[in-house]
């Protein structure tokens, strides 16, 4: 992804995260930076995903009562896990993104809470309830957002999908039934 687009998406996601709670409090359960990180990791852009994860995490932490770096840590780890999975399994299918996004949300939240507990700074919200709400909100809104980002900025993934479709068609045309 071009650096300019990357910076624009990062700024937009952090800005939404910082300001939307004032508009309607339940919107805080949507983790916008995480959606962007998942998107970049699924594109197999390792360093971009990791750097964006650290930056977004540190900025959001600095504006919250959390330990600075906790969110950066959890998001960086999550970005790598998704990147690693994307290099092993083809996760280009839009439907597969839903479980990936859900898993990323749970992993990110668990690591975040664990890090805070480890450093004797337990969060001020009930863990299971908060993770559940976050899981639902981020997965639902994130799926739509991923689709939106995909249609706006992804040239490479579109090329990759086209290539995969062409290859599938080519395989079908040379399959055993055709040969007969």
């Amino acid at each position: 992804m071009p650096p300019l687009k990357l910076a624009a998406i990062l700024i937009a996601s952090v800005a939404l995260q910082l300001s939307l709670r004032a508009v309607w409090p339940p919107l805080v359960y949507i983790d916008f930076p995480l959606v962007v990180i998942v998107y970049i990791a699924l594109q197999r852009e390792a360093w971009q995903a990791l750097v964006v994860a650290t930056l977004a995490g540190v900025i959001v932490d600095a504006q919250s009562g959390a330990l600075i770096g906790a969110s950066g840590f959890s998001k960086t780890l999550t970005a790598y896990v998704i990147y690693f999975a994307a290099t092993k399994v083809n996760l280009e299918n839009p439907l597969l993104r839903i479980p990936v996004l859900a898993a990323a949300t749970v992993l990110d939240s668990l690591v975040y809470v664990f890090v805070h507990r480890l450093l004797s700074q337990p969060p001020s919200a009930p863990v299971v309830q908060t993770i559940s709400y976050k899981l639902i909100a981020t997965t639902v809104v994130g799926t739509l957002l991923l689709y939106l980002i995909d249609s706006l900025v992804a040239e490479r993934s579109a090329q990759r999908r086209q290539f995969a479709t062409r290859r599938r068609v080519a395989r079908r045309s040379t399959g055993p039934l055709r040969r007969r």
Binding site: V23, V28, Q63, G65, L77, S120, T130
Partner: protein
């Protein structure tokens, strides 16, 4: 082939980037966790400096949006209300004359009271422009910073009770930790200050949310009842004495050896905060303990 090689290189180097970035995050966390309370955190101040104009704008936009929908809703019930209001208008005109006299008297007395309060503790009114961007903590951001005289650890209040304390200050905005946060705390007493011995500490609890806080360490021998008021004692080094904290909503009575378990509903509506005031108050410095004053004791700060 070149692109394949690049991908391979990326795959090989990714774990290195991961480890180095995780180490950077760990270092930042370590520094942040070690920082004693009351000291400014540079990263927080700088991000707040850039984020506050954005949060200000979003806060205004959200206010305008909710007003718009409120007006549409109000329009539906206007006709019915209009009839009722006409009837009431005639009744109220009669009461108006009496009220005017009382108002004039009230203004005079209020002016005297304000003057007295201003002499005691000065305050800076502020607007809440943002809430904590993560779900896990209870902080708010207000639109007053060091240029307005706000400093770290100053108390934030509303007319109905204490809200929290300032934890970060940038030139035009400040971050406030609410009393419902687990890391927050306030020295408090059940009943009137100087008349009651039910002293304790008020702090948030994760499972209680923002509507209730817990009061700890109140002796089981003291008499505490539901609906008793809770006031600050001024012994915590943050809040001045005599401010309203809230009222008792639940008590599990303790014994001679066990403290009461008290739940308090904060006086300030912490989930609907819009305007607050920062008290420009500095608590008197705590006198050092005898151990700290000994000449051969190693100072922890050095």
């Amino acid at each position: 082939m070149a692109s394949v090689r690049t991908q391979k290189e990326i795959r090989q180097r990714a774990p290195l980037w991961l480890v180095s970035l995780l180490i950077i995050n760990c270092v930042i966390m370590g520094v942040d966790a070690r920082d004693p309370d009351g000291q400014q955190k540079v990263v927080r101040v700088w991000t707040q400096l850039f984020a506050s104009p954005l949060q200000n704008a979003s806060s205004k936009a959200s206010g305008a949006t909710s007003n718009f929908f409120q007006q549409i809703w109000n329009f539906r019930s206007t006709a019915h209300e209009n009839e009722q209001l006409k009837q009431r208008l005639s009744e109220l005109e009669a009461q108006l004359n009496t009220a005017r006299q009382a108002e004039a008297e009230n203004e005079r007395l209020q002016a005297l009271l304000d003057l007295k309060q201003q002499n005691e503790i000065k305050s800076v009114p502020a607007r809440v422009i943002a809430r904590d961007p993560s779900v896990w903590f209870n902080t708010i951001t207000i639109n007053r910073g060091s240029t307005s005289g706000v400093a770290v650890n100053m108390p934030v209040v509303t007319g109905s009770g204490i809200v929290g304390r300032v934890i970060t200050v940038s030139p035009f905005a400040s971050q406030v930790m609410l009393i419902t946060d687990e890391k927050a705390g306030a020295g408090a007493v059940v009943g009137q200050l100087g008349q009651s011995g039910a002293l304790g500490s008020v702090r948030g609890r994760a499972d209680l949310g923002v509507s209730v806080v817990e009061m700890r360490y109140v002796s089981g021998l003291e008499k505490v009842e539901v609906n008793d008021t809770v006031m600050t004692t001024g012994q915590d080094g943050i809040y001045p004495p005599g401010l309203n904290v809230g009222r008792v909503v639940d008590v599990k009575n303790g014994t001679a050896t066990q403290a009461h378990q008290i739940l308090i509903q904060p006086g300030a509506q912490l989930d609907h905060l819009e305007e607050v005031a920062v008290l420009l108050y500095r608590a008197p410095q705590r006198t050092p303990t005898p151990q700290e004053t000994l000449p051969n004791v190693e100072k922890s700060g050095k």
